[in-house]
Symmetry: C2
Subunit: 356 residues, 2 copies
Amino acid sequence: MEISERKKKILTAVIDEYIATAEPVGSKSIVESGVLDLSSATIRNEMAELTAMGFLEQPHTSAGRVPSPKGYRLYVNELMERQRLSMEETEAINESLGLKMKQLDKLMSDVGNLASTVTNYPAVAFAAPVAATIRRFDLIYVDADTFIAVAMLSNDTVHNKLVHLPFSVDQGMIQRLAAVFNTNFVGIQEDKITPALISNAERACGDTMGLVSVIAAFAIDTLGKAKEGQAYVAGASHLLRLPEFRDPDKAHEVMSYLADSEHLLGLPNDASDDDIQVIIGPENVAKELKDSSVVIARYNAGDNMKGIIGIVGPTRMDYSGVAAKLRYIAEGLSHVLTMPEAPKGFEKLQIKSKDS
Amino acid sequence: MEISERKKKILTAVIDEYIATAEPVGSKSIVESGVLDLSSATIRNEMAELTAMGFLEQPHTSAGRVPSPKGYRLYVNELMERQRLSMEETEAINESLGLKMKQLDKLMSDVGNLASTVTNYPAVAFAAPVAATIRRFDLIYVDADTFIAVAMLSNDTVHNKLVHLPFSVDQGMIQRLAAVFNTNFVGIQEDKITPALISNAERACGDTMGLVSVIAAFAIDTLGKAKEGQAYVAGASHLLRLPEFRDPDKAHEVMSYLADSEHLLGLPNDASDDDIQVIIGPENVAKELKDSSVVIARYNAGDNMKGIIGIVGPTRMDYSGVAAKLRYIAEGLSHVLTMPEAPKGFEKLQIKSKDS
DNA sequence: ATTGGCACTCAGAGGGTGAGAGTGCCAGTG
DNA sequence: CACTGGCACTCTCACCCTCTGAGTGCCAAT
C-alpha cells in the first residue's frame, strides 16, 4: 500500500496540530493551516483513507483524528523536519555544559536537569552499564584509625570511601595494603574477587583484622555500581503539566515507573544507532509506558563509558524539538567529556562558583 | 479558654478518623467509634464548640468537621499517642541501614528512599549546610597528563576529581602542588580562597599553566557543595496516591517545589530540637506547602555534620506513624554513622553485593 | 447536663437537553 | 475524474435541574 505525497502532507499537518493542541484534529483545521489548497471535503476523504491505513485513529465517530503510533513512527522516520535550536536555547545549553565538572558520574544528574529544563519533559540520564575493572588503587593515610580508599576504574571514574576503624593501623600497613591491592585487584572484574583472592591478599600483607575485607567490599561495591549503571530522573513533575497526565492514576503509574532506576536501565537495551532513537507508545516493552514515548540520545565519555540521556513524554510529543535539543546536548557533552581539562583564569571560576 | 478532657477525646477521635478516611467526620461516626458513651447530639454540641474555638473546620454547613491546623497542632503536641513500629517495619529498616555504606553524602539518597518506602510519603533527605574547610588534600599521579585530586573536608566527607590535562606534568610538580595546597588551603573557608591566594600558590610551586586554578576550582566547588548542603527527594510519586493531591495542579505545585533543592534547604532553618519536628500546613513559610505538613528528624554523622530527613504529606498525615518511623530511622542512622567501620566476614559482603 | 426529634442546608449524583464540532456520502462541476 | 459544496447524521460535552442523603443546629423533654 503506497502512501501518496499528499497524504504525507496531511498526516504531517495532523500530527503537528495535534502535538500543539492535544485535541483531535478536524478536516477544517487542516484547511485553515494552509499547507494544502484543498477543500475540507477532500481532506476528509484523504483522512478517512489514512484512518483505514492505520496512520490515524478516531476517538469516536464525530471527533477529529488523532495520530496512531504507526502514524507517529512514519512522522519520526520520514516526515518531521530537523528542527534548529534558537540562539537562546543553544546559549542556555552551552552555558550549562561549560559550568559542569567533567566527571561523568557527577555529571548525570546535572545533565538530566538540563535536558528536563530545556525540553519541559521529564528526563532520565544514566551511565550505560559496563563491566569495569579497577585501574588503580590508592589508600590515603589520615590518622591512626582512619584512611581513605580511592579507586580509579577503567571507565575513568573515581570513587572514594572514608574508612574509620575501631582500632589503629600504622602507615606501613596501609602501604602494604595498597601495594597488595594494586597487584591483585587491578584489572579484574567484580566476579573475580573471590574469598580465595581475599585470603591470599590477607596473607600477603599480614592482615588479621579484616582490613582486606573492608577494602574488598568497597571494591565490589564500586565495580557493582559501574556494572549496574546508575540512573537519575529529573523534572518528573513536568508530566503533570500535560493534559494526557491529568489523570492522577496515569501520572502515578508512569512516575513510579520512572522512580525505580532498575526499570530505567532496561530502557536502551537495543543500543545501536549513533543518532537519536525514538520509541513510540506501544513499542515500549514496559506496559507502563505504552502511552508514552521515549527519545534517547547517547553520548561518549572517553573510550569505555557511554552515557545515555532520554526524555519521557506522551506519544504526542514534540519529537522534532526534543530530538534537536537532545542531539545538541549529547554532542556538546561528548565534546566536553573527551576534551582534556583546560585550565582557565581564576576570575571566571570565582564568578561561576557564586551564582551556581 | 480551657479545653475539657472530653473535648480532647472528641478532637482526637475526629482527627484519627479524618486521617484514615480523608473525609469530613460527622458526629455519628464519632459515636460509632465508641470512644465516648454519648449521643450524637451531645457530640454535635461539643463539636460546635470545638469549631468555635478554632480546632475544627466545616467545609460547608451540612458536612462533617475537618481538623484545622490549630487542631492538628494540639494533636501533635499533646494528644497523639507514640506509636510503636511493628516487627516487620523495624526489621525492614534495620536491614536497609545495615547494608548501606557509611558515608553521609552517599547515604542520603538511600535514606530518602528508605523513609519514603516505609512511610508511603515523599521523603526529602539533606545534609545540613555547614561552613566546611578542607582538612586534608591529596593529589594522586595517574599518568603524564592525568591526576586525581582528593579533598577530605572537616565534615568527614571525601570528594575527588579526575583531572585530564592538555599537557604533561611531572610527578614532582604534582607533589609540589599537593604540598602547597596542604599548607595554604587547609583549614580555610571557601570565601578565603582569593585570587591573591591562588597567585601566591602559583608562585610557590612554579605553576605557570593554571594548574593551581584548576585545583582551586575543585576546592571551591567542593566547599561550596558542603556550604549549600545537598538535598534529595525520593518517592515524590507517592503524592499522587493521596486524595488531596488528585488535583494535578496542586500535585504539580508541591512536586515542583520539592524538585528544586534550593527550596528544600530552607526548610529546617529553625534547627533546635533533638526530637521530631512537625510543621503543619500554614506554618510552612513556603506558600506552596500551605496545605502540606512536614515532619523532620535530625541525625548526627560525626561531630561536624548533621543530616536531616523529612517527610512531606498532606496536613491529614499519619503524624504518629510517620514520627515513629522517622525517629527510628534517625536513631539507627546516628548509630551507624558514628560507629567505626567494623570489618566483617567476607562471605556476608559477597552476598550483600549480589542482591543490592 | 444529656438526649431524641425535627426542620433546615447543601454538596454531589443522576438524568435530560441542546449546541457544536466533525463526519460520511452524494450529486454536481470544471 | 478529481474535487467541492451541501446536507443529514452522530456523538461528546457542557449545562441545568432535580432529588437524595448526610449532617447540622436548635429546642423541648428528661
